[in-house]
């Protein structure tokens, strides 16, 4: 069987076959043997071209929504999205995160609105500051994830907001 995955570096295709207690996989044309053992919520992976030359990795995999996975390895969190039959359906139903549709900027935490930097109708560039929220003793500037036009501003200065409250919408 074949898995399609997206990592920050691009799309990858893995073909997976079971070989006894281990897996054999074809990754971008290379054949790799992968031995997997679970230990205390983490996995030990031994990966290499054959069983005599394998590198050792320790990983933990966490599930996010819509096929998003976070793989913890070497102290880094690597986002991986899986394109599989079930999750393709899910994504089609609730397509919220592609680059073109309307985009809501939400407060990542409860806090107080210190400053609103844009008005409805403003055209903003990617990374432009939209709202300054004070939380955890710091002022945090929330920036536009992409360029667009501000279609709604839902907050005013001085207002308290809950986590995930919609602050600004980009058309």
């Amino acid at each position: 069987m074949t898995c399609d995955l997206e990592t920050p570096g691009g799309r990858r295709t893995i073909e997976l076959r079971r070989r006894g207690s281990a897996w054999e996989m074809t990754l971008d044309g290379r054949i790799l043997s992968v031995d997997v053992t679970a230990t205390g919520g983490r996995w030990s992976l031994l990966i290499g071209p054959d069983t005599s030359s394998r590198r050792s990795y320790e990983v933990a995999v966490e599930r996010r929504s819509n096929g998003e996975r976070i793989v913890y390895v070497n102290g880094l969190a690597v986002p991986v999205s899986i394109v599989d039959p079930r999750e393709r359906l899910v994504q089609r139903r609730g397509n919220v995160s592609d680059g073109t549709g309307p985009r809501s900027i939400v407060s990542p935490m409860p806090g107080r609105i210190v400053k609103v930097l844009v008005r409805e109708g403003d055209v903003v560039a990617a990374q432009q500051g939209l709202v300054v929220v004070e939380a955890m003793k710091m002022e945090n500037e929330l920036r536009a994830p992409r360029a667009g036009q501000v279609s709604a501003v839902k907050v005013v200065e001085g207002m308290s907001v809950e986590a995930k409250a919609v602050l600004v919408t980009l058309a």
Partner: protein, 529 residues
């Protein structure tokens, strides 16, 4: 002194309690509503609730903390850092209640707490200061007058809170037009953080380094200075990485810096632990900046290279002991130490706070590694307080070894469930300018500006492959927590539990379920039972 109340939370409360335990002293924790299950409550011998979660209703309530000390029979209070640690009213309230305040006197806190008074004290002790306003600028001083003062000092200027600390209420202004809005922002931030919106101006030095000197001073007239710390890696005036000794301070400069620091302290009769902060300009001249009248976040690096327990000495000094450490032990560095402040912040999203539940935590250890923390698997990092999770400290015989050990520890450090600044530190410790120690206090902000929001999780292709392989196998093999039906955990987000014994799976049900997922397809293809 037999029982100490720790008027703080988080890592510093745990740190102080550990010192108390080492000294066979009993400890009393105080806690707010959201901290009922926090680590410091469990580490303490006793614990007393002091109110709702917002700090103004609990950890900043002098009355409630004094009541807690009286009720528990504590004969001393350690304030930690932040909260009430530099509040002269708190130190005075302890004294009035007959409780030993583990720190300097209320008078010393008042004097040094006023940044303008501290500058005058430094000048009187013959220590150079950065040019700036001699008098504090209270809220009623008109902007026009402040602009005039700024012109006299020369732009760019720093607008700073007189009651300041931790970079709060601090702004850099390069032109007169920007000054009024900076004053407004600094006043509002300072008012919220310290209850005092008085500000002052200081000339902004170009590319200075932040160098500071830890002091210990007893009640018998002994003032000892330690090897300097360098804290030039700052983000928005908040220290991010600290190290000691400074890679650029020569033994001659060290002798002058430490003597100047001790002179400032001696001139005001300072007692207990404190830190004198300096700026070092590109010509190697140093200027007095301010005195911090508390134990500092970065104190462990000094402990690592001097072998003294600074918190234990705070307690010993407070109970009247003589400071009998040989001066050389504090002034001659034994190796090199670096500290990374691990925050619940997402470095790949502009360092936004990332509060929430830690679903898994593994703390590094091994040669030369110390972690001063408080969080555990299952800890909820609250939104009410500073998001510091731990301080990771690496010691080495020299700076390269300390860096190598820090890199190793960062790779071992795993925090799941929330984002942390760990990936940023992995990146930072690989930067040539960090390795060669060519930095200054604006170095990191300039660098972040150039990167314009670009993330720090630099994942090399081979690690991406490993991640892809793991995710792929997890999807085929893993049973989602909750979907397996045995744990009762909610479906959706969660850790993929490894279920990986090939032999154990053979017996699993392989009947005619509809093909809905890879798991089902894998079953059909004989890849799983």
């Amino acid at each position: 002194m037999r029982k100490i109340l720790i008027a703080n939370r988080g890592e510093i409360a745990v740190r102080v309690m550990r010192a108390c335990r080492d000294m066979s002293l009993a400890t009393v924790a105080v806690y707010s509503e959201c901290d009922r299950a926090a680590r410091h409550v469990r580490v303490a011998d006793e614990a007393i609730a002091i109110g709702p979660s917002p700090p103004g209703e609990s950890y900043l309530r002098i009355d409630r903390i004094i009541d807690a000390a009286r009720a528990s029979g504590a004969d001393a209070i350690h304030p930690g850092y932040g909260f009430l640690s530099e509040n002269e009213d708190f130190a005075a309230a302890c004294r009035d209640a007959g409780i030993t305040f583990i720190g300097p006197t209320a008078e010393a806190i008042t004097l040094m707490g006023s940044k303008t008074a501290a500058r005058r004290a430094a000048m009187a002790a013959g220590v150079p200061v950065v040019p700036g306003t001699e008098e504090p600028l209270a809220a009623d001083v008109p902007d026009a007058l402040i602009v005039e003062r700024a012109r006299q000092i020369g732009f760019p200027v720093m607008v700073k809170a007189v009651a300041g600390g931790g970079g709060k209420g601090m702004r850099v202004v390069s032109s007169p037009a920007d000054l009024p809005s900076a004053i407004r922002a600094a006043r509002s931030e300072a008012g919220a953080a310290f209850g005092d919106s008085t500000i002052y101006l200081e000339r902004r030095l170009e590319r200075p380094r932040h160098i500071e000197v830890q002091l210990l001073a007893d009640h018998h007239g002994t003032v000892l200075a330690c090897v300097e710390r360098e804290c030039s890696i700052q983000r928005r005036h908040q220290k991010v990485i600290e190290e000691t000794p400074s890679p650029v301070v020569s033994p001659e400069q060290r002798a002058r810096l430490t003597a100047a620091a001790a002179a400032v302290a001696a001139s005001v009769g300072y007692t207990n632990a404190g830190t004198v902060e300096f700026l070092l300009d590109e010509q190697g001249r140093f200027y007095f900046l301010e005195v911090n009248t508390r134990i500092q976040v970065e104190h462990p690096v000094t402990e690592m290279i001097t072998g003294v327990d600074l918190v234990a000495w705070q307690i010993r000094i407070a109970r009247g002991e003589r400071l009998d450490v040989p001066a050389d032990q504090l002034l001659v560095p034994r190796g090199h130490a670096i500290e990374c402040r691990v925050y619940a912040e997402d470095p790949d999203a502009g360092f936004l706070p990332s509060p929430g539940r830690i679903t898994s935590l593994r703390i590094p250890s091994g040669p030369g590694i110390r972690d001063d923390g408080w969080a555990e698997t299952g800890t909820d990092v609250p939104v009410f307080y500073d998001p510091l999770i731990s301080k990771l400290i690496a010691w080495g015989a020299d700076r390269p070894q300390a860096i190598a050990r820090m890199r190793r520890a960062l790779m071992e450090y795993e925090v799941r469930g929330i984002r942390t600044s760990l990936p940023f530190f992995q990146w930072m410790l690989r930067q040539p300018s960090f390795v060669s120690a060519e930095f200054h206090t604006e170095f990191l902000d300039e660098l972040l500006q150039r990167r314009a929001g670009e993330g720090f999780s630099e994942i090399d292709p081979s690690l991406e492959e490993v991640a892809a392989i793991a995710a792929c196998i997890a999807d085929v093999e893993g049973e989602l927590a909750g979907r397996s039906g045995s744990t009762g955990a909610p479906a959706g987000e969660g850790t993929l539990k490894p279920v990986l014994s090939a032999s154990a799976r053979v017996a699993a049900d392989s009947s005619d379920r509809p093909v809905r997922s890879w798991k089902d397809r894998a079953r059909l293809e004989g890849l799983r039972g």
